[in-house]
């Protein structure tokens, strides 16, 4: 199965581990992620002010690129890109007046009328590939690994863009169980990491990260599994500072769901680029015998 794929900016820079592991794992599962041509930044956040149509043009242009590719479906890995593209699509479907204004402004492009379905890779795994088919491809069951799922904000909010239940999503847990991973109950699974406040108020984000990571540690988790490069940064980058401030915090590996999927279906650990992860993922996986000792 070929699927149009929108990468977004961070997957090509700081989150190479997310993209490489996803492409390799999906290939094993028989899904080819075909990068859309001439994509641009999605804008990262959905503009909510009623009169602010200019900022919807960036995501809509990407949807036009998908339509030009002859495709009616696009998949993203990054949760932010998913949310921004999905909500731009919903706006174009549901607001005829705004749709006309935006299409008129982009007079050098084909009109966009909601002809593309925006999906996240977790939806493709659940709804297209299916848990049973994934289970058949598992070559390295990740037994002995205990994780907590972390959805953050943009996979399940707002309601109309949610890939799963808004308050009690289960898709990451379901995937992890198929891979042989033990999933622990995690009350903060959908609590915000502080998001873009890292730019203006890193101190507040450190408090958020400590709340989330500290809970993961108390639950006995080996790692936090997530799908958003901004969550990965906010929960990962400042762990040394968190440990300095809060002596009970001892560090927490942060891993993308695609990396564990790739490892389990037999993709080489080098492809997964665990060296780019925060919190000591390589050491954890070595300790559990899931990747070879360094030679």
């Amino acid at each position: 199965m070929d699927l149009s794929y929108y990468p977004g900016c961070t997957l090509k820079t700081k989150a190479l581990n997310f993209e490489a592991s996803a492409i390799a794992a999906m290939s094993v599962l028989g899904v080819n992620l075909i990068e859309i041509p001439r994509w641009n930044c999605c804008g990262t956040v959905h503009s909510m002010a009623d009169d602010d149509l200019a900022h919807h043009i960036a995501p809509v242009r990407n949807l036009v690129r998908v339509a030009e590719q002859g495709s009616n479906r696009v998949v993203t890995l990054c949760s932010f890109c998913y949310n921004t593209l999905k909500r731009a699509d919903l706006l174009m479907r549901n607001s005829p007046e705004k749709r006309n204004t935006i299409n008129s402004f982009m007079d050098d492009e084909i009109d966009y009328n909601g002809q593309v379905e925006v999906v996240h890779l977790l939806e493709v795994l659940r709804d297209d590939v299916g848990w049973e088919a994934i289970a058949r491809q598992v070559k390295v069951p990740l037994e002995g690994l205990k994780v907590v799922p972390y959805y953050g904000c943009t996979l399940t909010r707002p309601q109309e863009a949610a890939i799963d239940s808004v308050e009690n999503p289960t898709v990451i847990q379901e995937l992890m169980k198929v891979l042989g991973v033990t999933v622990l109950d995690f009350p903060l699974a959908t609590e915000c990491c502080g998001s873009f406040e890292i730019v203006s108020d890193p101190g507040a984000v450190i408090e958020r990260a400590y709340a989330i990571l500290g809970m993961a540690q108390r639950k006995g988790a080996d790692a936090v599994v997530l799908s958003c490069p901004l969550c990965a940064h906010n929960l990962g980058q400042k762990q040394a500072e968190i440990a300095d401030k809060y002596s009970d915090f001892t560090g927490m590996p942060i891993v993308y769901f695609t990396q564990l999927l790739a490892l389990a279906v037999g993709v080489s650990p080098e492809v997964c680029r665990f060296d780019l992860n925060f919190g000591g993922v390589e050491a954890l996986l070595r300790d559990r015998g899931l990747i070879p000792e360094r030679v």
């Binding site: 900016c9 009623d50 502080g194 998001s195 730019v199 901004l230």
Partner: protein
Amino acid sequence: MRLEISSGRLRNEFVAKIAELSGQDINLCYQCGKCSAGCPMSFAMDLLPNQIIRCVQLGLTDDVAKSRTPWLCASCLVCTVRCPKGIDIACVMEALRQIALRRREDFVDPAGLERDTVAELPAIALVSGFRKLTG
């Protein structure tokens, strides 16, 4: 506290602008406090989200304009999905930011960020931060 409520105060230009930009009817709010209870950034706020809404209802626009709360809102939408009256509170926060940003009152100065900070932050953080906190 003595509070004078008049129709002029309740229907001032600032309140009208919030309604226009957010498309929300904040008078539906009956102060249950669910938005503030779920807000992950409330620990750092001077006015809680429900207090912002109450101030707007009462036309206390100076208090709202001075508050740091809209700038601490991370647009995580927990308040929005939990409001029993269907008010998109995150959208009200966006309107409050937009009113300031359209007066060229940026909350962060991109040029003032340390070089090391910029190198450390992923593109997703910089773009979203500047989109929300600068005009």
